[in-house]
């Protein structure tokens, strides 16, 4: 009986520990020097926890932009003040931060980094009636537009990315594929869209596998995929899970070409996967291969400029930083036109036309709160640890 009681105590402790499994970390705040009435802009990012490989370059990017603009005299003579908050990659935290920032009088909110944490904010910003520009992918963040009046986003939607992949598969004549995804909003979103698009395009999905965000071994899943002998394998995840998947994939000697999603567009992926990353193909905004683009590309000068400045200060360029660049710049452009009025800022964001950003050329409208087209992406291949345009 005593033993049983002891075990019950252990049981309770285990359950408590289970609850503790979410990440932890400290909040961050950056402020610029006070002048007359600075424009306050809230920034919520996944700076620590599972989404940190996205959130950190995004934080660096917004800080870089704010510094640059304030040095040049600010917006219409007003300095900008960024209130940067870390949601610790936690959805509840993300939602609570919206309230905190609204109370502190920000004009708009940039963020957050991942689909899950962004989705958690959508209701809160609609209620508070404050414009929000997310840097995440899932199309549901901005659809249906009728329920997302105040929400915009700058990363290419899953549907666009999937379309790019389907186009690539078709160009290679591959019709039998396997699909693996991370067990998160990002992975589930990608999977749902891919299933639908593949069915429409006549591509058969031979098998589907899932793995956890923190899994350290995906050998069983890949073993199942290998048995199916697909013509190509599509993996929908972000590092480090995406890197481990790629490493295990190579260790099991699977010969089918491996196609990733745009979630691996950072140097960390290559760093972690090492040689096994060579040959991986994925669709992504043009930033990674900016210098290789033809001079006629309208984005080229913006891309090269951002990449050069970012790399001089923080290290390797990163698509996610690019999404944050777009989000903040679109907000700033709207504030410049509308002044410090949340409703007017929202209207101006919705009217964004021909905005040459990092993720593409934005043409927003009342039906499209993302505003990107298929030409905002290219297929990139990893070759000798470097990004090159895929054939």
């Amino acid at each position: 009986m005593v033993r049983f009681k002891k075990m019950s105590a252990i049981l309770v402790i285990t359950l408590i520990l289970g609850l503790l499994l979410t990440g932890c970390g400290g909040g961050e705040k950056t402020s610029t020097t006070e002048t007359k009435e600075p424009y306050k802009i809230g920034v919520i990012l996944d700076i620590s926890g599972g989404g940190s490989s996205l959130g950190i370059p995004e934080r660096d990017t917004v800080n870089m932009i704010a510094e640059e603009i304030n040095k040049a005299g600010g917006i219409n003579g007003h300095q900008i003040e960024l209130l940067v908050e870390d949601n610790k990659s936690d959805e509840t935290e993300s939602k609570l931060l919206v309230k905190k920032l609204v109370d502190r009088g920000v004009l708009a909110i940039v963020g957050s980094s991942t689909s899950g944490t962004s989705m958690a904010m959508t209701d809160a910003v609609n209620i508070a009636e404050i414009p929000m520009v997310s840097a995440a992918a899932n199309a549901k963040i901005v659809t249906p537009v009728s329920e997302r009046k105040w929400v915009f986003k700058t990363a290419q939607s899953d549907s666009l990315v999937v379309e790019k992949i389907i186009t690539y598969l078709k160009s290679k004549g591959w019709t039998k594929v396997a699909f693996a995804s991370v067990n998160s909003k990002y992975g589930d979103g990608g999977r749902a869209v891919f299933e639908k698009a593949a069915a429409e395009a006549g591509i058969t999905i031979l098998g589907q596998e899932k793995f956890g965000e923190k899994d350290v071994d995906m050998t069983p899943q890949i073993t199942n995929i290998k048995r199916l002998n697909p013509q190509a394998v599509i993996c929908w995840a972000i590092p480090p899970a995406a890197s481990i998947f790629t490493k295990n994939y190579s260790e099991l000697n699977v010969t089918s070409p491996l196609i990733h999603s745009h979630g691996i567009g950072n140097q960390k992926f290559i760093e972690l996967a090492g040689d096994t990353a060579n040959g991986v193909v994925f669709p992504i905004g043009k930033l990674l291969v900016a210098e290789n683009l033809p001079d006629t590309d309208p984005q080229k000068s913006v891309l090269v400029d951002y990449a050069t400045k970012f790399e001089a200060k923080y290290g390797a360029r990163n698509t996610f930083g690019g999404h944050a660049w777009d989000a903040l710049k679109i907000v700033l452009a709207a504030i410049e036109k509308a002044g410090p009025d949340r409703t007017k800022i929202r209207d101006e964001i919705e009217k964004t036309q021909n905005f040459t950003g990092i993720s593409g050329i934005f043409n927003m409208s009342s039906d499209d709160h993302n505003g990107l087209a298929l030409d905002s992406m290219v297929m990139v291949q990893i070759d000798q640890g470097k990004w090159v345009l895929a054939q």
Binding site: A9, L20, C24, K210, T223, P240
Partner: protein, 293 residues
């Protein structure tokens, strides 16, 4: 790929992770046996081992020296922790001590976050070379290192407990603390010994697994919990039980992910823990409990 080689592949994958779980579980069992504490900071010892290793190899320290230094560093850290946090609370109830270890675990993780940041780190495998093919399944050299290390450590632990003064003294403390003290064995010293020994086991687990899983500041949490499940499967007080529990958990997880549903891998592990605690609280391999270690 036929079903047989597919199963073999799952088992290889399960043995690799299972070996790590076994090493972590062993740490739980040793500390629990000597002090009655369930040390939830055990997973953090694993993380510290991996992180020190990454830092040292990154600074150009040769592999073997880096391994030894990492283990010693973790032993020193844990020695200080035992001296500073566990010993002063010696009179407290075991539950209080368990809660102290949970606090320690969070603190160590928090400090690691400040020191190493949130990025995962890569560690090169000990030996170069591509995966080895056995019966249609592949196994990477680093997995062999993990399994080999587990076997060597288990043998070593067995000899230490059976044939050395310290090992015998440790067992004496378990059987009867009062009698052991009468015989001139200090339970305080033994507690320190148990913690430092477990630290070495944890650190080694972290070092051999890092090339496979990468090292992150929060890797200890999940590994610690899985090691704990393995220890409970084995009855929480038996060394062979911990080992079998670890390997069994690894293989069940791998088979579960491969054959049932890959999305519920961690869920399967926790369901097993709950089932064992409800149905057979002494652990699958548990004995009625007078002789531990």
């Amino acid at each position: 790929m036929d079903l047989a080689s597919q199963l073999l592949q799952f088992i290889f994958s399960g043995l690799t992770m299972g070996g790590i779980y076994a090493l972590v579980a062993l740490g739980f069992v040793i500390i629990h046996n000597v002090t009655g504490i369930i040390n939830f900071a055990q997973g953090e010892f694993v993380m510290l081992g991996a992180m020190f290793m990454v830092t040292l190899t990154g600074a150009g320290v040769p592999l073997l020296l880096a391994i030894v230094l990492s283990i010693i560093l973790v032993m020193i850290v844990v020695g200080i922790i035992e001296f500073g946090a566990i010993r002063p609370a010696k009179k407290a109830s075991p539950v209080t001590l368990v809660i102290i270890t949970i606090g320690l675990s969070s603190s160590i993780r928090g400090i690691a976050l400040l020191v190493w940041g949130t990025d995962p780190y890569k560690l090169a495998p000990f030996t170069k070379g591509s995966s080895i093919q056995i019966g249609g399944a592949s196994i990477i050299p680093q997995s062999l290192w993990v399994i080999g290390t587990t076997v060597v450590i288990l043998t070593l632990t067995f000899f230490i407990f059976e044939y050395t003064y310290w090992g015998k003294a440790l067992r004496a403390c378990v059987v009867n603390k009062f009698a052991a003290r009468l015989m001139g064995i200090s339970p305080q010293k033994m507690s320190l010994f148990a913690f430092v020994f477990s630290a070495a086991l944890g650190a080694l687990a972290g070092i051999v697994i890092a090339p496979i899983t990468y090292a992150t500041y929060d890797m200890g949490l999940m590994l610690g919990l899985k090691g704990f499940i393995a220890a409970v499967l084995g009855g929480l007080s038996s060394t062979p039980g911990a080992v079998i529990g670890g390997l069994a958990l690894g293989i069940i997880e791998s088979l579960g992910a491969g054959l049932v549903s890959s999305g519920y891998k961690d869920g399967i592990a926790f369901i097993i823990l709950l089932l064992v605690l409800f149905l057979k609280p002494g652990g699958i391999f548990g004995t009625s409990g007078s002789k531990r270690v």
